[in-house]
Symmetry: C2
Subunit: 407 residues, 2 copies
DNA sequence: CTATTTTGTTCAGCCGCGGCACAAAGTGAG
DNA sequence: CTCACTTTGTGCCGCGGCTGAACAAAATAG
């Protein structure tokens, strides 16, 4: 037998992927910075940039803008290609869906929301969101390199099934990844060269964390912990060295069942006082003595209450109660994960902004050492971060190996 | 200025490090397997193996043993060099210290225990263990490539200071890494070419996890969670894709303050019913109604009790109580980290072996999905795993880049 | 003993990349 | 404006690691 081996996909320029990621995340605004970040010679960086430009992924400005106050020849500016390829991002939430086209750099090119009560059969809404995305794509005329789907449920790997669609009526174990891929096929969406698109699916909080890490409040963090709450329950996510940590089966960071109030409310998990039932919008509304509305509007209702009636002592006390519980949960997570940054989303973001010091104090107090307790806790900064995160997941193969993904 | 750049340490054969690691961990018993694992051609694998042999790190058997039941030319066998270089491993525990020389493959070449009450000044005992190691080294006549120290405390990065020497009388923030390095210098230990040795220091449970992952019960796991208890308190560690996850400041996996018994004993952290006070040897002895002995012997005392009097209903009930608490803590960790294997050390190992089903049932019951709950829970299998782990940490630079570490 | 299978070895050639020299494009001093 | 200086871009050469292929070696099967 003549000598065969596994095809080396990373063939060609090894620095192509890292270089694209640097431009994508805005960490390489010029070719000079790119050279330094990659740790290669200027010659190599130049060749890499030229190759990425030839692939239509980035743009190298021929007319470099002079950097103020610095001497020497100004470096060429790098940016993502303004009319380059996009990926299809889709999100399903309690109120309906949203489709979007997202280019490199997290730029949302087009977006289309859709309201509907989520039906028991996940394939219907997945088909709907993909069709909306296909329409956007047809309008834009730009090539599509991938597709990502965010769902409000844990997604098991490697099968891509939704395990706990808590506030959806989906059956447990719905094969959302495969349904998504099939919907892409049905909608006639194709990748470069007519190859079929393979969809990726993930938990919305996980994907939001990825987006915040690349383009939002988590930028530059080595170990980023995100915690967020939508309508019911609390989700977590961890980004380690730029990669989402989903655990061995995609089930990591199920933080909802940390005990934060030993004498608290019973939880469906069998315990009492879990974060899930002590620090979500429903808990806030209940503590404030308000009648919770329909489950798909709990977040809006809570935000409204927080914004308009925070002066009311009852509301304020309810907020502080939730913040204290959340702080206990965060302290536990900080002790276990020791992140260098924490970003809060959903209602937790508003609660943090309402009283940043209280939450930070609780976390610092219950963390084991001042050092780990002094971790910065920031509100999320991206709109539609789950959607952008779904796009990030879809971009990943391109970032890992641009040649293979486009060739 | 002529073009300079950061020296590319990984210059030369890029596959040298991975190849050494494969032999080191026993995953490349033959050159043919090495070829497949590295994903290179036979020619390259041959060159790499020859180079590692020339460096004195591995041995390539000229007379390959025929593999039974397979055709074709038998492949050369690979093994670590029997008289190759070693690293110095040191451990400090409640009863004293232990020094050892450890070769590649986790082979303990020589070891020397030392009993002493740990003095308040950490430099004394660190000097003592290094001197013991230096004596072993002089006897062996083998070159020393590194040194690692395991301490029963969290070690903060990047400064290498011991933060919570719980059952030692050390001051908080003792610079153990620097004290260790200085002791190595004082003892006249030198690396290849007379370069000074830089010591590495780590938490004993963290290092034990590393050892179990490379050579023990954790072999092959992608996400390995280790939990162990020595005399007081509970420690945890996580190995992700072969690397220890120590968090952004070395403080990750401080699992001792997970709440596992809301109505439990008060803990110095301010909460009640923490894992630290509910699932350590002291908790077991107390629950069994025994008078705890001196703090440095709690583990022995507990083991003794478990082995000789497990038939006693009081002892058994105490064990089950601790197992139940431990199970709650493990379930919480499994929900957050979703490892694909759990390894228990110290007294937890004996408790697991006494009644494997009970612990597994508790974990499965409190894990969110059967899938993550069905994670295998195994007892540790290595003797002196913290010591071997200290050696692993010391070997790491060599495994990462053999040429740079030896050149 | 021959055919087959699997592995080791040698060698030529490609190609990525470093190093260098030089050009280009800016700032600042006089 | 000119000149010195600094920083960046580009073309070219050469090294060296790695692939690919042909060939040799060492075992088993029949």
């Amino acid at each position: 037998m003549t000598q065969t081996r596994t095809t080396r996909l990373e063939r060609g320029r090894a620095a192509l992927g890292p270089a694209l990621e640097l431009v994508h995340t805005g960490r390489a605004p010029t070719r000079a910075v790119l050279t330094a970040e990659l740790g290669v010679t200027r010659a190599t960086a130049g060749a890499v940039a030229a190759e990425l430009e030839a692939l239509g992924l980035i743009q190298v400005d021929a007319r470099p803008t002079a950097a103020a106050g610095s001497q020497g020849r100004p470096s060429h500016r790098l940016s993502v290609a303004p009319d380059g390829p996009v990926v299809l991002a889709a999100q399903i939430h309690a109120d309906g869906y949203r489709a979007a086209l997202v280019g490199l750099g997290g730029r949302m090119v087009a977006t289309a929301p859709g309201c509907m009560t989520v039906p028991a059969d996940p394939s219907h809404i997945i088909d709907a969101v993909v069709e909306a995305g296909a329409a956007l794509l047809a309008d834009s005329g730009r090539p599509c390199l991938g597709a990502g789907l965010a769902v409000p449920s844990a997604v098991a790997e490697p099968d891509g099934t939704a395990l706990n669609p808590l506030h959806l009526s989906w059956p447990a174990g719905a094969p959302v990844r495969d349904l998504f891929t099939r919907a892409l096929e049905k909608a006639g969406l194709r990748g470069p060269g007519g190859t079929p698109l393979t969809g990726v699916a993930g938990n919305d909080v996980n994907l939001a964390a990825l987006a915040e890490h690349r383009h939002g409040a988590g930028r530059g963090a080595r170990h980023l912990l995100c915690v967020a709450t939508g309508h019911r329950g609390v989700g977590g996510a961890l980004v380690l060295d730029g990669r989402l940590h989903t655990g061995s089966a995609g089930l990591a960071l199920e933080v909802g069942h940390l005990t934060v109030n030993p004498a608290g409310l019973p939880c469906h998990c069998g315990s009492r006082g879990c974060l899930d039932v002590e620090a979500d919008p429903l808990a806030f509304l209940t503590a404030a003595g308000r009648e919770p509305g329909p489950s798909g509007s709990l977040l809006q209702q809570s935000r409204e209450l927080l914004r308009t009636e925070y002066a009311d002592p009852t509301v304020r006390a309810a907020a502080e109660r939730v913040v204290d519980r959340l702080g206990l949960g965060l302290a536990g997570l900080v002790n276990i994960l020791n992140p260098d940054r924490v970003v809060l989303g959903g209602l937790h973001r508003e609660l943090l902004e309402a009283d940043p010091e209280r939450l930070r104090a609780v976390v610092a107090d219950r963390s084991l050492w001042g050092r780990s307790g002094s971790v910065p806790i920031l509100p999320s900064t991206l709109d539609h971060n789950s959607l952008v995160g779904a796009a990030e997941a879809a971009w990943q193969p391109v970032l890992d190996d641009p040649l293979a993904a486009l060739g």
